[in-house]
Symmetry: C2
């Protein structure tokens, strides 16, 4: 069975008989710089793909044994981080349709990971919260990813972490940045649940 683990992903590309053609090397330094910047961008594509793939993957085992999918995990995550979030705010974060969310949410509510409560100010709203079981599951899932992330942070150092955050923030949409910034500033008092 191929792809077990630790496989050699790519057959080593030989540098080729031409080697580095010194003749054309100093031809256009400007074009070379441009090429390097482009290479850098493509490398970032790789980074995003692999990091996201393996990071999300880390929680899959637990999800699978419960018959849940990544969509359920995402919902749990954002409800956990935003207790009392409304359905439409959650939709805005996930950027999926109402129907897609409804499917995962119904499962989470049926299994009592999530509760709904009518809003006090606006009773049309359904404020979402994690039950203790929901918090427990979210933690289990989180712990898998946490390990990976903690190792990466340790290796890279705190300066690198700050750079990581800056770049990631820059990649995302304006609306996501607002969300990120908002949640950064209220780091201390996230324990206040809304009924």
């Amino acid at each position: 069975m191929p792809g077990a683990k630790g496989e050699a992903l790519i057959t080593a590309t030989p540098p080729g008989p031409g080697g580095r053609s010194t003749s054309a090397m100093d031809a256009k330094a400007g074009a070379n710089l441009l090429f390097l910047r482009e290479e850098e961008m493509r490398r970032a594509q790789d980074l995003l793909f692999f990091a996201y793939r393996d990071f999300t993957n880390a929680a899959d085992e637990v999800l699978h044994e419960l018959g849940l999918g990544r969509a359920h995990h995402r919902a749990l995550h954002f409800i956990g981080r935003n207790p009392g979030i409304t359905v439409s705010d959650l939709l805005g974060l996930l950027r999926i349709t109402k129907q897609s969310l409804a499917r995962v949410l119904n499962v989470l509510i049926a299994r009592e990971y999530v509760t709904q409560a009518p809003g006090r100010a606006d009773r049309r709203q359904r404020l979402l919260n994690l039950t203790p079981e929901g918090q427990g599951l979210e933690r289990r899932l989180f712990d898998r990813q946490r390990e990976r992330l903690a190792a990466a942070y340790r290796e890279a150092g705190s300066g690198a972490v700050e750079g990581f955050r800056r770049v990631m923030r820059g990649i995302m949409d304006e609306s996501a940045r607002l969300y990120i910034d908002r949640s950064e500033s209220s780091a201390g008092e996230r324990r206040t649940q809304r009924a």
Copy 2:
């Protein structure tokens, strides 16, 4: 139509009448540090989700008008970066099954974005390459993402970029790291195609 753009994602959470309870503040500094580290990890979850969401999204418009999906883009990307890659190496990178890859690959070959050629050393292999049209399409897709990335890099500065790379590398699997490192070292001579 909700979710147009620039919407207020989350209703601002009021700090609550309790405010910051100074009584319990200096109770356990150790637990607080632990909490901050955890907060940091959860924030990284957010970052990965939003950055990946919006980054991949950037190419979707072009893909959609051609009736292609993200899976096609991923295949184009990795074939473009690894000219002459074998099917099984590509499978190892994408971590999908042969059948899943076959479907997207067949489309790409039928539309003449990708060519297959039997390996010279091992004729069982089908070495994959982009046609000029394939390169053109990949570039079109890439350009959408490039813009976003370039802006993020500019804002963040080169120090941050290095940190970004270090953390992202740390998050991914060992095998992906090997791939990343290999492609870093051969930055110059990526023009050598294999038949």
